[in-house]
């Protein structure tokens, strides 16, 4: 059996605010194999983005990783100093953000900022650096990359900027790329192009992705496995198709049923009543229980993780499998 590229166990990231301790991530465990795309799905405040940021050590005060382990190819990241982590970031693990203008420096040409990213992790000759940059820009589908590399970010469209941001993440051929809502701000036609590119990139480069998004449909188009987050924990996880075809957790079922595309036009949608819990004041026991149609007295106790044939869920009353095997 091959070792996973990334394995996270019992990760907890809390924010110590005036209003109390916000348990944004509370006991998340996951593994990622080489060349695998793991989709991390959840609504706002579910902890999916904070999980992504925690993996790269990008949590700022008042937030802090309070427990758990993050092992990247055997290296424990939570033990590393700021400096050591900085050496790894970009080299072995990289990130793509929702807004490419957050990643790109508006006053530097693409060539300048991309080569800077190369120099940061080793000695490279100027011409070799430039060639490598052009190569990755071509990989992500930027037309006429050789000419466009000397342009500034504002000379690119939103979709092209996001491609540049993806190219920068790919520069050092990292083991893992965390993409946080990477296509959310883009139009559907551009999003479709990027999703297609990502699928190709994973096959060609063997880079593993953690694809964080609120949009379960886009996630289903790129991810091999999906983890559904709610209230700071993963409530269900499994191979994408199996999980979507046959969700076991009532929250996953609710998310899918709430999609207009899954319903007859004009019919009432199956809504999840209530609102997401406050992270400062999470319900005792199962975090989803207050909104759950299947709750009973048992749900006052936090459910353990149940695992069965590559699937896992955290629920006292999971839905019956549709086709028992």
């Amino acid at each position: 059996m091959t070792h996973p590229v990334l394995s996270v166990s019992d990760l907890a990231t809390h924010f110590f605010t005036d209003a109390g301790i916000a348990r944004a991530v509370d006991g998340v465990s996951l593994t990622l194999d080489r060349g695998e795309v793991l989709g991390l799905v959840g609504e706002s405040g579910s902890g999916k983005s904070v999980t992504g940021f925690s993996l790269l050590g990008l949590v700022d005060p008042p937030g802090r990783i309070v427990r758990g382990s993050i092992r990247l190819n055997g290296t424990e990241l939570t033990d590393l100093s700021h400096g050591a982590l900085r050496k790894l970031r970009g080299l072995r693990i990289a990130m793509i953000f929702q807004d490419p203008m957050m990643t790109l420096n508006p006053v530097l040409t693409i060539a300048r900022q991309m080569t800077l990213a190369l120099y940061a992790h080793g000695k490279v000759s100027k011409s070799a650096a430039r060639d490598r940059c052009i190569e990755v820009l071509e990989t992500v589908g930027i037309p006429a990359a050789r000419d466009r590399i000397d342009d500034y970010p504002h000379q690119f469209s939103g979709g092209m900027r996001q491609r540049v941001a993806i190219a920068m993440a790919l520069l050092h051929k990292p083991d893992v790329i965390v993409a946080d809502e990477a296509t959310t701000a883009l139009d559907v036609s551009i999003q479709a192009q990027i999703l297609t590119e990502i699928r190709r990139l994973v096959q060609e480069t063997g880079t593993s992705f953690i694809w964080v998004s609120h949009d379960i449909a886009t996630v289903s188009m790129v991810a091999d496995r999906i983890a559904v987050m709610y209230g700071g924990r993963i409530v269900e996880e499994g191979p994408s198709r199996a999980l979507l075809r046959d969700p076991r957790h009532p929250y996953t079922r609710g998310l899918l049923d709430a999609l207009p595309s899954q319903a007859e036009p004009g019919s009432d949608l199956a809504q999840i009543d209530g609102v997401a819990p406050s992270l400062v004041n999470l319900p005792k026991g199962c975090v989803f229980a207050p909104r759950c149609p299947r709750r009973d007295g048992m749900c006052d106790a936090e459910p353990d993780l149940t695992t069965a044939s590559r699937r896992a869920w955290r629920c006292h009353h999971p839905l019956e499998p549709r086709d028992p095997t």
């Binding site: 609504e43 139009d187 559907v188 198709r241 998310l255 709430a258 595309s261 009432d268």
Partner: protein, 337 residues
Amino acid sequence: MSAFVEINNLTKSFGASPGLVYRGLQKVGLAAETPRVHAVNDVSLHIHRGETLGLVGESGCGKSTLGRVLAGIQDATSGSVTMEGKPVVDRSGGRRKLSTRIQTVFQDPFSSLDPRQKIGRILTEGPLEHGMIRSSEAAETAAHWLNIVGLDPAVASRLPHQFSGGQRQRIAIARALAMKPDLLICDEPVASLDVSIQAQIINLFLKLRRELDLTMLFISHDIGVVRHLADRVAVMYLGRVVETGPVADLFEAPAHPYSRALLASAPKLVIEDDDLEGFNPISGELPSPLSPPDGCHFNTRCPLAASICRERVPAMTPVSARHEAACHMIETGKVTS
């Protein structure tokens, strides 16, 4: 028979207005024309009473501008917008007077509610100002509309910051409804909401439409939401309407190559292995609205583009009953429904 709301050859363009010296230079040919963006370009549409018209398109296609002109928030550059034959902006008496019969629900419920007004005041300010209710009736009116949108009437004494995004959107909808509008314009009302909350608001719209016989213009980039809520749909690309038709027809058999591409790039749940087969992104990007291509605006990305598409703007051509599209290839029979 004219429709309830008629939009005829509506154009709205934006551009810096040049200074005096620059205008002089332009006149004698020494300076270039000031570039103008035609956000809405010669659009004609109609909405029947009780109907929900969905307006879809990608960012920059002019769908929100069209909604704003229709609401009278912005003036049209040319063309007309009428409701029951009367212009929506009344200029008689030297004052620009908006119709109170058209109300809008905006995308962001955080910026569309005054943070310092109590909910009761937010809901009744309009009806009070326009003499639709007496101040003694204000509390009752607020409670009535809060009930209708599914909120506890007791919240009338609270401030907007005490509510979640979904609840605020309910308040924004109640505020619009309290004016008893004949036309409700919804500009991406569920785009900023989480999926589970989005479903709650979509269900609210469905309920309101059933109970109040609302006429709606529903603007959204989300094809799934429009398909679910609208009776008829119009697709916009770079300021022009390229296709209109009943929801079922247009989504089952889109005629315009852009509508086809838009539907084919919409993200969809991949549950079976062959679910990805129909997924086919269009190549290329949106051209700059400052200098859209000649002829059909879509010709730079269209797989069917021929020389005529680069020369002449295609006219709306019937595809089937109530379903029409602006594409030269329909006229030549290359596109069939």
